[in-house]
């Protein structure tokens, strides 16, 4: 197990290096000059030339890249061109908020999705199943943006139960988590349902029933446990998507997370901030994938990583 984790972590290094190179090159071929974005509507050639020199943007590309990688090797993501603040500090300030939102959305999605899936699978074609199917279609078809605004209008503007947007206590978390988790509820419900149907038709479930176990135990312990692998896969994939896909949700709900930081950085062509965020999120992604793999072993003793 330990060797497996070590191997995976070592493998992550070339992956992240690849991300680094691609992010760096893409940003340099993409249109948009950070200095132009910085000086605003009215400027002069002289200022622009001086700023380019200050930011070392005139150095040859390999030199710039070398500089950047050398910084990263020392754990330094550099400073923002625009704000002059250290990027790592900015990211670490915002990431926990994104994580909090993603975590809450995932919790919501898991509880609702898996419950709905299990209930649907117990009586396929029944009322709950059909309701679940309808909900799944709706959840997948509605854009986050629209759902978000609708939630704000209903719960904040009309009913006045919750604040419309912003960051604070639990009350501020509810609406964005619902909006972000919605899609996954639908997805998870369908996934759980089909995995459960497979499991419930399996021989070991018949055996369990034949032993005279109560239905609840059969479903929860025997069937669900075996249906967990695909569910964990979906959750792992979704979690990555939450982290990067929370951009819209954070924007609608004025949530001060990493998504908005990235959007701002892109709008201002803040190259080191964009690169730093991409690298950071890629590292998180690699880590989440690793955790997903480890969770397989936990769910299914047949999976080992010796």
């Amino acid at each position: 197990m330990g060797a497996f984790i070590l191997r995976r972590l070592l493998l992550a290094i070339p992956t992240l290096l690849g991300v680094l190179v691609i992010a760096f090159l893409l940003l340099y071929v993409a249109p948009g000059d950070p200095v132009m974005a910085m000086v605003g509507e009215r400027a002069d050639e002289q200022t622009i030339a001086r700023l380019r020199a200050e930011l070392r943007l005139d150095d040859p590309l390999p030199v710039q890249f070398g500089h950047y990688v050398a910084g990263i090797a020392k754990g330094d993501l550099g400073r923002s061109y625009i704000t002059n603040r250290p990027i790592l500090r900015d990211i670490l300030e915002r990431f926990p908020k994104t994580l909090q939102l993603a975590g809450a959305a995932m919790l919501f999605a898991t509880i609702c999705g898996v419950t709905l899936g299990v209930l649907s699978a117990r009586s396929p074609g029944g009322l709950i199943d059909r309701f679940g199917l309808a909900l799944a279609y709706l959840g997948i078809s509605f854009p986050v943006y629209w759902v978000g605004l609708l939630l704000i209008l209903l719960f904040a503007v009309t009913l006045h139960w919750l604040p419309p947007s912003g960051f604070g206590g639990f009350r501020y978390l509810i609406l964005p988590a619902l909006a972000l988790g919605m899609r996954s509820v639908a997805f998870l419900a369908r996934m759980t349902r089909s995995a459960m149907l497979d499991a419930l038709g399996a021989d070991y479930v018949r055996t369990a029933r034949a032993k005279g176990l109560r239905e609840r135990v059969v479903v929860a312990r025997h069937a669900l446990r075996n249906a967990l692998i695909p569910i964990i896969t979906v959750l792992g994939l979704d979690f990555g998507a939450y982290l990067t896909g929370s951009i819209l949700t954070e924007t609608i709900f004025s949530w001060p997370g990493l998504g908005r930081y990235v959007v701002n950085a892109i709008a201002r062509r803040d190259l080191p901030a964009i690169q730093g965020s991409v690298l950071f999120l890629s590292a998180v992604f690699v880590l989440v994938n690793l955790l997903t793999d480890l969770a397989y072993a936990k769910a299914d003793p047949r999976v080992t990583y010796a």
Binding site: E41, T47, P163, P256
Partner: protein, 525 residues
């Protein structure tokens, strides 16, 4: 989107009854910032949220009133030498920074040097370029600014490189604000100023919280605190306003009709003649666009009145020149280009394009601008002008226009200070081609010399006459499709007293704004 205030009213009453006391209602909440400020260091104030916050925390030698007047700030008075080159500013005495440091003339010199210092990476030195030696300092050619001196603690003497009568207006811009003499490395997050407010906390992408500077020389702000929330999505800002959680809202341009047509909402509206010109820059160096007749044809080929009505509910005052009608120099009697496809076709024929022309119109992805572009495209087709719309993210579109790669570029220009010069000079003077703001690449020797003379003219009446003359030339030469001056629409909560929408973005410092606790809803935090 239209949940009425009426529906909300009983809830507000309940909330108030349950809330008890009114102590939590003395905070003023603004919703206008839609992204995190770059910094709170005046030297870095190149964007609107930064400039607004800097305006709360710092003072310049002059400042703007909400109506767009320029009044004394840290300077109580100033005089100019007869040749208009030497300006003597008499500074306010007994003013201190919020850390207790007294304000003295030396800080003015140091602050302006920082703005120009390339190592500070501010990027906006131009408001100080009129000072003799400033541009050389910014270029690293000299180590001090020759035109700046402080004969004593309460006097600053500025020598300009040429007469520039409106110089005090530029000094009210956030970038010219005065900071302490030595600033720590993290000054951008821990600012210390002499302004009406001091910073309590800055939660990035969330809010900035300010408390009154109780020693403010102009009298401390009347409210207990000011919170500038950072709300990225305009629809969310609207929802916040409707929930009563923010006090002031800038109505998104696409939702104007919804507000004006609703009797309840209408009562909350207020507006100001905004100094924002919406136009399509015509690159006068490209192909058929070199011919003024073609450029006039573009102006005749569109029905601006209908576009104004249908897209922005008549919030625009149709432009007949580049000077906003509220500023001296504007010729309000001149009727603009009237929609006339026959005339447009005829002008094209005379210019040698009987079969029409093909042009690219660049625009940002702002939905309103895309709609304007599409409407212009439809109109111009009637006159044989075939437009291909190119949508790019705004920084990329602007960069292309600056490089001269666009035929037409749909954009706006928002004044930094209330003077016709702020339109005539950056937008169309040949010294500003490209990055300077003249993305029409317009060059007309007569126009240039009139604008230059106006900048140097010390007599106001004569200056205004020159402005008018230059504007007339610009109108005739049509280096742009003149659209309109957009008048900003605000909604202000009924419990707010004394808020006047500012003409210039940093013109409202909230010092006399109050909330009446009795009618405000209880809020979280």
């Amino acid at each position: 989107m239209r949940r009425s205030i009426a529906l909300l009213a009983p809830l507000l009453v309940m909330a108030c009854g349950g809330g008890g006391g009114g102590t939590d209602r003395r905070t003023l909440v603004d919703s206008r910032d839609n992204y995190d400020p770059r910094s709170l260091d005046p030297a870095l104030s190149t964007d609107v949220p930064t400039g607004r916050a800097v305006g709360y925390l710092f003072d310049g030698l002059t400042r703007f009133t909400p109506e767009g007047g320029v009044i004394p700030g840290l300077a109580t008075s100033w005089e100019t030498s007869p040749d208009g080159l030497t300006w003597t500013f008499h500074l306010r005495r007994g003013v201190a920074f919020t850390d207790g440091t007294p304000f003295v003339a030396r800080q003015v010199l140091v602050s302006w040097q920082r703005v120009l210092d390339p190592r500070v990476r501010g990027g906006r030195g131009w408001p100080l370029y009129p000072i003799h030696g400033a541009q050389d300092y910014a270029a690293g050619k000299v180590t001090s600014i020759e035109g700046l001196s402080a004969p004593n603690d309460s006097t600053v003497v500025v020598k300009l490189k040429e007469p520039f009568a409106i110089f005090p207006k530029l000094l009210a811009m956030p970038v010219a604000s005065i900071a302490p003499e030595t600033v720590p490395a993290n000054f951008g997050e821990h600012p210390v100023g002499t302004g009406p407010w001091r910073l309590v906390e800055w939660r990035h992408d969330d809010y900035l919280l300010f408390a009154p500077n109780t020693h403010y020389w102009g009298g401390p702000p009347r409210a207990d605190s000011l919170k500038a929330r950072i709300i990225a999505e305009p629809s969310t800002a609207v929802a916040e306003f409707e929930s009563g959680t923010v006090d002031v809202l800038q109505i998104p341009q696409g939702e104007i009709a919804d507000w004006e047509e609703d009797a309840e909402r209408r009562k909350l509206l207020t507006s100001t003649p905004s100094l924002e010109l919406v136009y399509a820059a015509i690159n006068t160096t490209r192909g058929p666009l070199r011919d003024p007749r073609v450029r006039q044809a573009l102006n005749y080929g569109i029905d601006r009145m209908r576009i104004d009505r249908n897209l922005i509910a008549n919030r625009g005052t149709l432009a007949a020149g580049v000077i906003p009608p509220s500023l001296p120099g504007a010729d309000t009697t001149r009727s603009g280009y009237q929609f006339d496809t026959t005339r447009a076709r005829q002008l094209l024929r005379e210019a040698g394009y009987p079969n029409g022309i093909d042009l690219e119109m660049w625009t940002s992805t702002n939905p309103l601008y895309v709609r304007i572009a599409e409407t212009l495209q439809a109109y111009l087709r009637l006159s044989g002008i075939r437009i291909k719309i190119v949508q790019r993210e705004s920084a990329a579109a602007r960069e292309a226009a600056r490089k001269g790669a666009t035929d037409l570029f749909l954009k706006d220009w928002y004044a930094d200070y209330p003077d016709a010069e702020n339109f005539l000079y950056p937008l169309l003077h040949s010294a500003n081609k490209g990055v300077g703001g003249n993305v029409s690449f317009y060059q007309n020797a007569q126009y240039d010399s009139i604008v230059t003379a106006a900048r140097r003219e010390q007599d106001e009446a004569k200056r205004v006459a020159l402005y008018r003359e230059a504007d007339q030339i610009a109108f005739r030469d049509a280096p742009m499709i003149f659209l309109w001056f957009y008048s900003e629409l605000y909604a202000v909560q009924p419990w707010i007293r004394g808020f006047q929408p500012p003409v210039i973005f940093n013109g409202q410092s909230w010092t006399t704004v109050t909330t009446t606790a009795a009618s405000a809803p209880k809020r979280d935090q």
